[in-house]
């Protein structure tokens, strides 16, 4: 549409000599241009307001069976009276930036633009002061010393830094790394990279709840083991690993313990000293902070040494050179401070909504909660549920009004079933039919009510179309069927 209008404009302009174009004709075209929702943007020039519209594709679903009163559109309500933007229930992928964080960051984008490493003038001093304040806030959440916090670009960089950096530093004597099968892709990929460099990597299996066995960890430890990396809270199933016990085993064997706490930081209690954690990864955009920043906790006593990936000016104790981004650092610091300040309220709110969501969804027949049922070892903000006889992807397609994911955002583009659920012993069908719900600080009760209702209706609808469900209802055991080959 845009290109057509532009072409007309161009044609008119080039034909100016032949066909005189009046000014009004052009303004008319321009006006119709800005009116159309080509980019989803609309600006009100009198008030300076900007409206961004989200295109929501109608679900490309087969039509309901004949005679069915079901609809795949909004959950039985008059569509014209409500908005169109989906409910956000994917806080494991990223969280909305808290307005209080944005408020802090705006100072830096409007006035405090000094380089925090410039020590010769006031512009540098003022941003440096703010950076150090943020460092303190970030450290407070995990009861660390501010000097032990290294700012990086995010948890992926930190994981790379830890898993590649520590073994590389000690490569002359130590050759073995231990991690688990359910780690985030960036940990697994870094570990694979180290295998190429000649290191041995043990991938610990997990039980059906996603927890590692401490005995398996003990027996996997060798004389030349240098690093154990176990994630604190799993991003797909929300299971909390026994950090304290793992830390104790590692300290006894003089092995460095790294934990990826991107999903855990500020959401569960972590004390790096009590848990004997040597390295810890933090991401800012999982705690309502800005994207593009994270941190690494690196223990100073006993000292953890690592080969930096990025070298240069020697900032951040030489472990991560490069100019810091004060707006992001300050936003991250404010987000961390708020995580601590709001922790009681947030946890209460998230647990309440999460229990409501779990109860509402597990009341659907043939559903199953993935992850640990024990509240002590599962983070309530992450609810992973399998809906048998339904394909998760088709349910997601039918749920255009709810922003959900079937697993990590990194793998959501591929239709591969989740490797995390596979590691729990789930078969392909179960792994394919699971969906992850994320509840956060800004989720409301009305949204949870809507989600429960919508999922109930659509699961029912999709099952009515499924021949498998029909057979199950008739009492046929699906495993007993011998499917004919092609």
């Amino acid at each position: 549409m845009l290109s057509n209008q532009l072409r007309t404009l161009a044609v008119r302009a080039s034909n100016r000599s032949a066909v005189p174009v009046t000014k009004s004709a052009i303004t008319h075209s321009v006006r119709s241009l800005s009116k159309s929702t080509i980019s989803g943007l609309a600006t009100n020039t009198t008030t300076g307001e900007l409206h961004v519209s989200t295109p929501v594709d109608p679900p490309t679903m087969p039509s309901p069976p004949e005679g069915s009163s079901l609809s795949l559109k909004n959950a039985s309500r008059n569509e014209s009276q409500f908005g169109t933007r989906p409910i956000y229930l994917d806080v494991q992928a990223t969280t909305p930036t808290d307005p209080r964080v944005l408020d802090k960051m705006l100072e830096f984008y409007t006035g405090l633009y000094g380089n925090p490493h410039s020590s010769t003038h006031a512009y540098g001093w003022e941003t440096d002061k703010e950076v150090e304040k943020a460092r303190e806030y970030v450290a407070q959440v995990i009861k660390a010393d501010p000097k032990e916090i290294i700012f990086t670009s995010g948890a992926t960089e930190t994981n790379n830094m830890a898993i590649k950096g520590v073994p590389r530093f000690y490569k002359k004597t130590k050759k073995h790394i231990i991690t688990t099968q359910t780690e985030h892709k960036c940990v697994l990929d870094s570990a694979r990279h180290m295998q190429d460099e000649g290191f041995d990597v043990t991938y610990l299996p997990v039980d059906e709840h996603g927890l590692i066995s401490l005995d398996a960890l003990r027996s996997a430890i060798r004389k030349d083991t240098i690093l154990v990396s176990v994630m604190a809270v799993n991003n797909e199933i929300g299971v909390i690993q026994p950090l304290k016990e793992i830390g104790k085993i590692c300290r006894e064997n003089k092995i460095f313990f790294h934990t990826d706490a991107a999903q855990a930081y500020g959401k569960i209690d972590i004390d790096v000293n009590e848990m004997n954690i040597d390295l810890l990864s933090i991401s800012s955009h999982k705690i309502y902070g800005p994207m593009g920043i994270g941190a690494c906790y690196v223990r100073r006593r006993p000292r953890v040494r690592l080969d930096p990936i990025i070298t240069g000016g020697g900032q951040e104790r030489g472990l991560r050179s490069g100019t810091l981004a004060p707006p992001l650092v300050a936003g991250f610091g404010e987000a961390a401070r708020l995580m601590l300040e709001e922790s009681k309220d947030d946890r209460e709110h998230i647990t309440r909504l999460s229990n409501k969501l779990k109860d509402g969804l597990l009341s659907i027949p043939s559903t199953q909660l993935n992850g640990s049922p024990d509240p002590a070892s599962s983070y309530p903000g992450c609810v992973n549920i399998s809906f048998a006889y339904i394909e998760g992807e088709s349910l997601l397609m039918a749920l255009k009004d709810i922003a959900l994911s079937s697993g990590s955002a990194c793998t959501s583009a591929s239709l591969e079933p989740s490797y995390v659920l596979h590691a729990l012993g789930a078969d392909d069908a179960l792994a394919h039919s699971s969906i992850r719900f994320g509840v956060g600080r800004f989720t409301t009760e009305a949204e949870i009510d809507y989600v429960i209702k919508a999922i109930n209706e659509r699961v029912d609808f999709l099952r009515k179309m499924s021949p498998l469900w029909e057979m199950v209802q008739e009492g046929i055991d699906l495993d007993s069927i011998e499917w004919s080959g092609h």
Partner: protein
Amino acid sequence: MANSKQVLSLYKQMLEKAYKFDNYNFREYAKRKIHNSFKEHKGLTDEKEINQFYNQGINSLAQLHRQTTISQMFTFDKLVVEPLKKHH
């Protein structure tokens, strides 16, 4: 010391601002947060503590003013749980 009339007026002003968030989630959160924190601090008797809480509130009010203004400048489509109605 801030008297109860001033505290009540602050509460009302803050709630009024909270309603101005264009973003549904931020609006609901701000309402919940203001309501809870005033309720939580209802029993304060120490003069110093009351003043501290009151001053914090004044700062939050200013922050709410800035952030609701920004929220109104950059608007997005309404959520599926939000009733469409003429606003502002």
